[in-house]
């Protein structure tokens, strides 16, 4: 349902061009939870901004349900990394979650229902009348997630949402995301630099190369549907997948574009590469 085709983004500054994203092609199926992982500075945020319609790509297209994205689409929500700066400090938690619904012109009763349901889903029903700055970092990010869910998006984009919270909060939030994904049946694209997180969360991990960025590999995560921090993370299959993704990222850093697709992968044959969507470029160009 979400198709990124030949996406390219170059920044122009002081007479020289910087190519942040060279050529990205991938697709997400309806209801898929995919993680996008890559070495730092590989243009993950640029990619996400192009996908969300906040930024115009230099070349290539992004399409949602076949319709080209040239501005933020109405059925897409984004959770930003900077939770402290994406919530309105002058609005209460309820006000923050309700604001997009007002813009959608939903009737008051429906708005209240959605706000209550989404705050309950992230475990913040008690905090509705507080201001964001009265909450801890992890709770603030929960508010941002509740706002995204209340919006009833078909696609949820998340840009390293847990990069700035502590490890324990992070584990809780990861489980929260998987729970919400199942409960609200959205398509989720989750950008992260954390390999463990990508493997733990995703049904699929798209590995990006370093800048200029191409798709290095596309790994299907064949872990069981029900995951939890203890058993999933200590499962042998988790370790294999993690090693596979790790190696791919190392290859990406060394400029060994796409070699991992055939040889270097540690996992058994058939686990790397997507099985739902045709994903063309391995980056060998």
């Amino acid at each position: 349902m979400l198709d990124v085709n030949g996406l390219r983004k170059t920044y122009r500054g002081q007479g020289r061009e910087v190519e942040a994203v060279r050529d990205l092609t991938f697709g997400l199926g309806e209801g898929e939870l995919a993680c996008l992982v890559g070495p730092s500075g590989c243009g993950k945020t640029t990619l996400l901004k192009c996908v969300s319609g906040l930024m115009r790509p230099t070349a290539g297209t992004v399409a949602l349900d076949g319709r080209p994205v040239d501005g933020p689409p109405p059925d897409m929500a984004v959770v930003f990394q900077e939770y402290g700066r994406s919530l309105f400090p002058w609005l209460t938690v309820r006000g923050n979650v309700e604001l997009p619904l007002k813009e959608k012109r939903l009737p008051k009763a429906r708005r209240r229902e959605l706000v209550e349901e989404s705050l309950e889903a992230v475990g913040l029903a008690h905090a509705a009348s507080l201001h964001p700055w009265e909450l801890s970092g992890g709770m603030q990010q929960r508010v941002a997630i509740a706002r995204a869910i209340a919006y009833e998006p078909r696609v949820l984009l998340m840009d390293e949402p847990f990069a700035a919270v502590d490890a324990q909060t992070r584990a809780d939030l990861e489980d929260l995301i998987r729970g919400l994904w199942k409960r609200f049946s959205m398509t989720v694209l989750f950008v992260t630099h954390d390999i463990d997180e990508a493997v733990y969360l995703g049904e699929r991990v798209i590995v990006l190369s370093s800048s200029p960025t191409v798709v290095q590999d596309d790994v299907r995560v064949d872990l069981p549907e029900e995951r939890d921090q203890l058993t999933t993370r200590s499962a042998p299959r988790f370790a294999e997948l993690r090693a596979l993704v790790y190696r791919e990222i190392q290859n990406a850093k060394n400029g060994d574009g796409g070699a991992g697709r055939t040889g270097a992968a540690g996992g058994p044959a058939g686990t790397d590469g997507p099985d739902r969507e045709p994903t063309a470029t391995g980056g060998a160009r």
Partner: protein, 260 residues
């Protein structure tokens, strides 16, 4: 604060004013200048002069003028500051002219405005506006320019635009800066109110003070100065209260980010 600490707090606040008044009293007693009136006489004159029909004739029109000019300047400053803050092109276009106009000292406009507008209250309000609008305008421009890009992206993603974007995002996030501009403008407004009344008026506080001075009614002149000081204090207290209310979120946010 406990009941016992109350007198101590009051003493701390009142100590310096009491010392200054005592010093003044001593200076007035030691000097034989006709123009230096002692505080006791000023206090007695104050009650006599201002608790009378003069309050309605001079004080109320002055305060009305002040508030009218101030409100107009605030509306104009915010109204022009928002589009200027939002549009870099508009800023580049208008900035040189604004810099020039800002550099002109407002009191020199009084003779000009007397010719253009006439000797009435609208001319005096125009003088106040011409001086007060700048801090409001410039602070609004800066505040609007400094809107957090992540919040702006958030608004775009969730389709918050038009009037709601203006009220929920732009004005609210610029409000601490706008308040700083309004606070500066308030003290300018008092100065310009007095100056405009001294130049061109037949009533008002500024007029009354000049009239007392010309008639050598020195204690009366002093009492007018004291009244202006008190007016300034009352206005700034009222302003601080309103600001505390409107910007409670801002104080909370700052306290929270300091605590982390």
């Amino acid at each position: 604060m406990s009941v016992r600490a109350l007198p101590r707090a009051a003493a701390r606040v009142l100590l310096l004013p009491a010392a200054l008044i005592a010093l003044w009293w001593w200076a007035a007693a030691a000097s034989d200048s006709f123009y230096l009136t002692d505080p006791g006489t000023i206090a007695a004159t104050f009650a006599q002069v201002w608790v009378s029909e003069r309050f309605a004739a001079d004080v109320l029109p002055s305060v009305g003028l002040l508030l009218t000019g101030y409100a107009l300047a605030a509306a104009l400053g915010i109204g022009m500051g928002v589009p200027l803050g939002l549009s870099p092109r508009l800023r580049a276009f208008a900035e040189p002219v604004l810099e020039f106009l800002r550099a002109v000292p407002p009191p020199v406009l009084v003779p000009l405005l007397i010719l253009l507008v006439g000797l009435d209250a609208s001319m005096r309000a125009a003088v106040i506006v011409s001086g007060c609008v700048w801090p409001v305008l410039l602070n609004t421009v800066e505040g609007v320019r400094a809107v957090d890009p992540v919040l702006a992206d958030t608004c775009r993603v969730y389709g918050v635009r038009g009037r709601r974007r203006l009220t929920v995002l732009v004005l609210r996030s610029a409000s601490p800066q706008i308040a700083a501009g309004l606070r500066q403008a308030l003290s300018i407004a008092i100065i310009l109110m007095v100056i405009s009344e001294m130049f061109a008026s037949s009533s008002g506080l500024g007029f009354a003070i000049v009239q007392f001075q010309r008639g050598f009614a020195i204690p009366e002149m002093w009492s007018g100065i004291v009244l202006l000081g008190l007016l300034g204090v009352v206005l700034s207290v009222v302003f601080a209260r309103a600001e505390r209310r409107a910007l409670a979120w801002h104080r909370g946010l700052r306290a929270a980010s300091r605590g982390e």
